[in-house]
Amino acid sequence: MTAPTRERETEFEPVYHRYGPHRAGLPPLLPYFRELWHRRGFATEMSRAEIRGANSKTLFGQAWLVLNPLLLAAVYYLLVTILRGHHDPKVFVHLTLGLFAFQMVSHSMTSGTKSVVSAGKLLINTAFPRLLIPLSAVRTAVFHFLPTIPVYLVFHLIFLTRVWSPSMFLSLYFFGCMLLFSAGLAAFFATVQVYFRDTSSFLPYFVRIWMYLSPVLWLPENVAHFSKTVVTIIQLNPMYAMLGGYAEAIQEEKVPDVGLFLSSGLWAVAVAVIGFLFFISRERDFAVRLT
């Protein structure tokens, strides 16, 4: 639906809506986002329902929210230890930090991609700002991320006992950037998926390659010796700036470069604006495509 024109909010004045021809194009954005905010409770409940529903038939139930990151960390610990031939605590702690954050972005993206297409009946039977659907998927990804924080802190306590500094709070900025970035990606790929259903099949491979290209399994200093062109290409990856700044703030007791702040912020805002506007401009067409 386009954002309805709300004349007055009183009980006696009826709400007036006018629906005209509209295939692609933006509705008035202010009322749209007002309506989106008004309906945020629905996105919250959709995401909560999904989290509750997902593990309802398993023995461990909601404990999977903590088990998942633990197992993931264990698998990659084995991998990295075998590849390097020795136990390197710094690499391991960096890996878990990057891995959990990257997982949040990639989960937002992959589940956001499928969110609109799988909303099916809900979408063709109820009118609401559709952007709530991918945003709800992002919320789910964030709630899967939250239990990884204590898991990480335990590793940090064990392996980086003395690394605590106020600069850690700067990581919140980079986390915020990743969040906004994820939301933009989720909206963008959700729209693409409606028109091209193979998107969700390609994504896992894309995500995996993207992870190898991002500073998750390696540290920025590992690539410093490459030629300038290669390093520039590596740095063009939005996750390079976001994960790099995030990890530096948390693990290196220093304030990350201004360049990392700027690059992260710009990427996040640009992707969010493009993703949201692309989604909103197409969302009225979704019902037609999904019937």
């Binding site: 386009t2 709400v15 409940e45 309802s56 609401f128």
Partner: protein, 271 residues
């Protein structure tokens, strides 16, 4: 924008628009690719053959009508006549291809019943989800959730996951949610087809109550009996065209003649 129309207000006590819904020259065309799901493989095969598999389905063709406040309108027609499409257009879900739809009021849609939002959640949780989907705030939902659950008469089942429900039980939940939203405009698509006799009676009573409080009600049904019983206005759609508008009995008679079905017990009852 106009919220109050310049037309003189006839019978309404307030100075509201005399219309609840106005549909002007509404056409809706679905353009779908031939494959139900557009995939790369099909795309490549099609590119190779140099063809474009676009299917145009004209669901509604130049439909115009207006509905005054206080109308309970029945919508009848054969399968595929465009009834549900019309409802979705009035609810603002499907954008018109041409034409306009104007709606005065908050619409609550009860389209395609038994839409369990999440089958692994309990009936009560789905009620909350459904309420929020219709645009209520969390507090409003929490105020109503007990009434809604009570009204379904599902007893302890309301705390069980929806995948343990029969289709009739799921329909009860869906219906109960829709009628408790205090909508200005209520749209019901084949609401009573899965309920048992007791529930159907209860639902009819509830709909009659809502007909008096809501600004307008739309009822799609193949049970022509309930249309003539519940509605005071009726339109008949056939292959996307508006064939007739008038009093329910007249329209139903014309429709019966058209489809050459003798008026019998089977057609007038909700099956």
């Amino acid at each position: 924008m106009l919220s109050v129309s310049p037309d003189p207000v006839t019978d309404d006590e307030s100075e509201r628009s005399p219309y609840a819904v106005r549909v002007e020259d509404l056409s809706i065309t679905y353009r779908t690719t031939f494959e139900r799901k557009p995939t790369l493989k099909q795309t490549i095969v099609r590119f190779g053959r140099g063809e474009r598999a676009v299917h145009v389905v004209e669901a509604l063709k130049h439909v115009s009508f207006d509905v005054r406040v206080g109308t309970a309108m029945g919508i009848i027609g054969s399968n595929g006549a465009g009834k549900s499409t019309l409802m979705r257009a009035m609810a603002g879900i499907l954008p018109p291809t041409t034409g306009n739809v104007e709606v005065w009021g908050k619409a609550s849609t009860l389209l395609a019943l038994g839409v369990g939002f999440n089958k692994s959640l309990s009936g009560r949780e789905n009620i909350v989800l459904g309420g929020l989907a219709s645009g209520l705030s969390r507090r409003e939902v929490e105020e109503r959730v007990d009434d809604i659950a009570e009204w379904t008469e599902l007893g302890d089942f309301i705390e069980m996951p929806m995948n343990t429900y029969s289709s009739g039980m799921a329909a009860r939940v869906g219906f109960s949610v829709a009628v408790h939203m205090r909508p200005d405009i209520l749209m019901i698509d084949e609401a009573l087809s899965t309920g048992d006799a007791h529930f159907r009676e209860k639902a009819s009573a509830k709909m009659a109550e809502l007909r008096d409080s809501a600004r307008a009600m739309f009822l799609i049904s193949h049970g022509l009996g309930s249309i003539s019983e519940m509605c005071n206005d009726c339109i008949w759609l056939d292959k996307g065209r508006l064939m007739m508008r008038g009093r329910p009995d007249e329209v139903i008679d014309a429709y019966m003649k058209y489809v050459k079905v003798k008026k019998s017990a089977t057609t007038t009852e909700d099956i």
